[in-house]
């Protein structure tokens, strides 16, 4: 019914997925004229300049400290490693990320499974809902959350636990588009119906089917969705700041950037490395779930 249309690529994630699914182009390259070849190299070199100079400059800045005029390139690094706030920030944001991933999976896996198995006609509705974070920018989203849950009758934001809860809930919503895409792609690769019928004929309950049959078969998809979620959550600034979660990694780095001269460069490099690791893991996990495009979250 709507299966054909709605499984068409939706959004950058869909495009990416379709591209990765299709075999790499084996078409022999056209003979290039020398001029076009040169132009390509020029474009590439300019791009490399633009993209690497800021990273190089950040690195050079991080090794700049000269206490008493004696060069000490590792000083800023040692200061970061001695900074409690750095570890608290990383720890807090990683924990928030992991809880986000768990809640997101508990909601999205059964939902995507159920949509495929029982209610394919609700797929456009579910997809639309998961795409809401693209329509409501983070700053507007957190605005609504604060006004809704800050005041009566909820009053959730007056306690730390309440604010942490709202923060994680917001991150779960932000993770939906990526998680749903990843899990749905994973489900497309396995025969959901046969697996379900086989399990049922062996007497398995729905919970058992989901936990013992569907989840294990989605390992790769789940992991790539999880790493992308982690990359979004750990660097997130806007929502964490306005929910007064100032110990989180994003707000911590922001404050450090205003107050210290050299250590922010170190933390910026670490932040870049973390993004690189998360994307590298997704690439390693292979084709089916490799989705590196993100248009909501930490801008």
């Amino acid at each position: 019914m709507t299966q054909g249309r709605s499984s068409a690529p939706f959004g950058p994630l869909g495009v990416m997925r379709n591209w990765l699914r299709s075999a790499p182009s084996t078409a022999p390259r056209q003979r290039r004229s020398g001029a076009s070849h040169v132009v390509s190299w020029v474009i590439l070199i300019l791009a490399i300049l633009y993209f690497f100079v800021p990273l190089l400059a950040t690195f050079l800045h991080s090794i700049k400290p000269r206490p008493n005029d004696i060069p000490d390139p590792t000083l800023a690094y040692r200061q970061v490693l001695a900074d409690e706030g750095f570890f608290i920030g990383l720890g807090y944001s990683f924990l928030a990320g992991i809880i986000t991933i768990i809640i997101s999976l508990l909601i999205i896996v059964p939902t995507a499974y159920w949509v495929r198995l029982k209610v394919p006609r609700l797929r456009p509705v579910v997809e639309f809902v998961t795409l809401m974070p693209f329509v409501v920018p983070p700053v507007v989203f957190v605005f609504g959350l604060i006004r809704t849950y800050g005041g009566p009758p909820f009053g959730l934001l007056s306690t730390n636990a309440g604010s942490d809860f709202v923060l994680v809930a917001a991150y779960v919503i932000l993770s939906f588009p990526y998680m749903y895409r990843a899990v749905d792609t994973g489900l497309a690769a396995i025969d959901v119906r046969t697996l379900t019928e086989a399990s049922q004929s062996l007497g398995a309950s729905w919970t058992r089917i989901l936990l013992r049959v569907i989840f294990p078969n989605l390992r790769t998809a789940i992991l790539s969705g999880a790493f992308l979620t982690l990359a979004i959550v750990v660097g997130e600034y806007t929502i964490a700041t306005y929910l007064a979660r100032n110990q989180a990694f994003g707000p911590y780095l922001s404050l450090l950037g205003r107050s210290a001269p050299y250590t922010p460069a170190v933390v910026t490099l670490i932040s870049f490395a973390l993004t690189w690791i998360a994307m590298g893991m997704i690439a390693l996990l292979g084709r089916g779930g490799r989705q590196g495009v993100q248009v909501a979250g930490a801008r």
Binding site: S40, L131, V140, F143, T148, G250, G257
Partner: protein, 298 residues
Amino acid sequence: MAEAVVIDERGALPARPARSFGWAWLGLLPFFAFSIAFMFLPTSYLVIGSLLKDGQPSLQNYADLNTGIIPSAFMTSIEISLVTAIAGGILGFLLAYAIILGGLPHWLRTGVMTFSGVASNFAGVPLALAFVFTLGQLGVVTVLLQGLGFNIYEGNFRLTGKFGLELVYLYFQIPLMVLIIAPAIDGLKKDWREAAENMGATPAVYWRRVALPILTPSILGTMVLLFGNAFGAQATAYQLTGGTLNIITLVISSQIRGDVLHNPGLGFAAAMGMVAIMAVSIGLYTVFQRRAERWLRS
């Protein structure tokens, strides 16, 4: 399509015929309940608040969008988003063209694609800081150029100004364009080029008459996506400018911190204005995407 056919042929599970749609949707209840609580309820709060003036239903807040700093904040946001969408779109297209059809070694292509995945996600606070260390008043490149007798701050350039912000946004706009447009360029079939050449088309004619028309919906669609991407960005702008630049995300930030507009309803209306613009851009993107698939599907 094949999938849909299989489902139809085999029918639903024996115990629950396909017609029992009435209860099946209950399986989606946790998902919908969560989305309503944490996405739709907060958004509705803003919608309702924007439609109330002194407790009475009113459209006055929307009329008031045309007062004070709000029109110029929207205009600056739109301008920055347009500039970075068009510039990022063109530069990203050129880069994608270079790595796919430019005759560069294949490993370079893989490298650029992987890096694009990282750079498109490297945004917000750390990105702003990296540019401060590069082109800020005391940035490494600024100082280096000064040593060569060239002071970039002599003229109008300010990293914390509009142009500076645009320069920084390109760091995630260009890679996003590369990620989305590279597969489309890769999808151009060799047959089309050969057919064009057989009929005597030069490469320039092939590009103008065949390749570009096929790619146009993809290019425009991605540019619309880039527009929305920049329009909703807050963290990068806040860190870079310290909240001094008058763009709409920063107006809303100040409105959250303290009612700087001296009118809560106006703040809600401004937020809804953002949502409306984002909705239009995502909608346009979807339309362009559907058009793009027509040629690039099979």
